[in-house]
């Protein structure tokens, strides 16, 4: 059976994300991605997290394309239109990072601007550290790359720890589809707009419990200083590597972010990267692209023009 494409999701969704679906084999899985703009232009790699897919960047892309950049947007394996492995071990942090390494190698990206949101941060930055020569600049938003997220949200029993606890996770997020529909809704500012232009696209690619597997599995990889943490050492190595990066960097955050809160998490990036630009703030909660996608695109154009094109 042929994989589903953006066009298969219907005219409303395809109209807002009017790009050609492409597929690439990465570590044995089929990754969906789009690759727009001049092939020889500076590439901008936009990475989403949980539970979204490339559609998250729909309003961010047009300013970048209009400015002449090549824009590459993968769907992380397990989400969007990419393959959904059912085996738990496929979804380790290292495997997801390795899938991005395979992508940037296959597309031969050179001097790319890496743009990370949510799990796009730990995975994308791990890939960058594995292929430093392929990247020239980095932008982060509502993400982290150290052992524990600095905000209180991830330590709370309600809703965070309960929503992906054993048995409760596959029930709430798998069978009962708590994310992406309601979950993303709660993490946007203009919820009417999200209902009108966002929700259907996220639910269309997570229509079954099987398709929602990563939505409850990925949260389990966030270290919380518990004996059962899966990735403490991995994040420790990631943080050490990220702290040593001196690429041009920028930090963009949603003012209303109540997951990776702007006062607790965003400053940590400037502790790691004293040279980084920002803090640029926009209207938005955790899924700030839903509220300020185009503004983020303009910020990225401004940043990339100075950081990469002017070199």
């Amino acid at each position: 059976m042929s994989p589903r494409t953006i066009a298969d999701l219907g005219p409303d969704i395809a109209g807002r994300y009017p790009y050609r679906s492409r597929f690439l084999g990465v570590n044995g899985w089929q990754m969906h991605y789009i690759d727009e703009g001049p092939p020889d232009a500076t590439p901008v790699l936009l990475l989403h997290g949980n539970p979204t897919w490339g559609y998250l960047w729909r309003d961010t892309m047009p300013p970048l394309l209009a400015a002449g950049y090549r824009v590459v947007v993968p769907d992380q394996i397990g989400l969007g239109l990419s393959e959904r492995p059912h085996i738990a071990s496929a979804h380790s942090l290292d495997n997801h990072a390795a899938n991005l390494v395979a992508l940037v190698d296959a597309l031969d990206l050179d001097a790319a601007v890496l743009v990370c949101h949510d799990w796009g941060g730990p995975t994308g930055l791990a890939a960058l550290l594995s292929r430093p020569a392929r990247f020239a600049a980095v932008a982060v938003m509502s993400t982290w790359a150290w052992v524990e997220p600095s905000a209180d949200f991830h330590h709370r029993m309600v809703p965070w720890r309960t929503m992906h606890a054993p048995v409760a996770g596959p029930y709430l997020l798998g069978r009962q589809a708590a994310m992406p529909g309601r979950g993303v809704y709660l993490s946007t500012v203009d919820r009417d707009r999200y209902e009108a232009t966002g929700r259907a696209a996220y639910e269309a690619v997570t229509a079954t419990a099987d398709q929602r597997r990563l939505t409850w599995q990925w949260p389990r990889w966030i270290p919380l200083s518990l004996p059962s943490d899966l990735a403490t050492e991995r994040f420790r190595r990631l943080e050490a590597g990220v702290a040593g990066l001196r690429l041009p960097a920028t930090v963009i955050w949603g003012r209303e972010d109540d997951v990776f809160t702007i006062d607790a998490v965003a400053p940590r990036w400037h502790q790691l990267w004293p040279h980084a630009e920002g803090l640029h703030t926009v209207t938005g909660r955790h899924f700030l692209q839903e509220d300020s996608g185009a503004e983020i695109g303009e910020l990225l154009v401004d940043f990339a023009d100075r950081a990469v094109r002017s070199r």
């Binding site: 929503m163 054993p166 409760a168 596959p170 029930y171």
Partner: protein
């Protein structure tokens, strides 16, 4: 809410198993593994038949999974036991799963609780949560 779950001594005859939910990583929080091991005597008899519980008169099969290098049980499959070839009542199964999850969380004990689960289900407006 008060979860009403009864552990049955044997599988009622004439039922077929309909998979509902797979939890491959009970040990993400080890206290969940210990709850099932103790509640169903799995340390003494890990290779026995699946456990069977009843919720509101409907039967559910709990099959415990093992994985090399992990304490047993490392995972859990929950299946509805449905009469003969009759269709599964999906809405009832989801309501019963809600009750079953509450029973598990209260059984595991603090910091886990059915109350926290109910509040989380309210936040996400889970369709199967009980009416107020």
């Amino acid at each position: 809410m008060s979860a009403i779950v009864t552990v049955l001594a044997e599988v009622p005859p004439g039922l077929r198993s309909v998979p509902l939910l797979v939890e491959p990583e009970l040990g993400h929080y080890p206290e969940f593994t210990r709850f099932f091991a103790i509640r169903f005597g799995l340390d003494d008899d890990p290779f026995g038949p699946p456990a069977v519980v009843a919720v509101d008169g409907r039967a559910y099969e709990l099959t415990f999974l093992g994985r090399s290098g992990r304490p047993f049980p490392s995972g859990l499959e929950i299946a509805a036991l449905v009469v003969d070839l009759e269709p599964l009542d999906v809405e009832a199964a989801d309501r019963d799963l809600y009750t079953l999850v509450c029973w598990i969380l209260d059984g595991v004990g603090p910091p886990w609780s059915a109350e926290a689960f109910a509040r989380t289900a309210d936040i996400f407006r889970i369709p199967a949560r009980p009416n107020d």
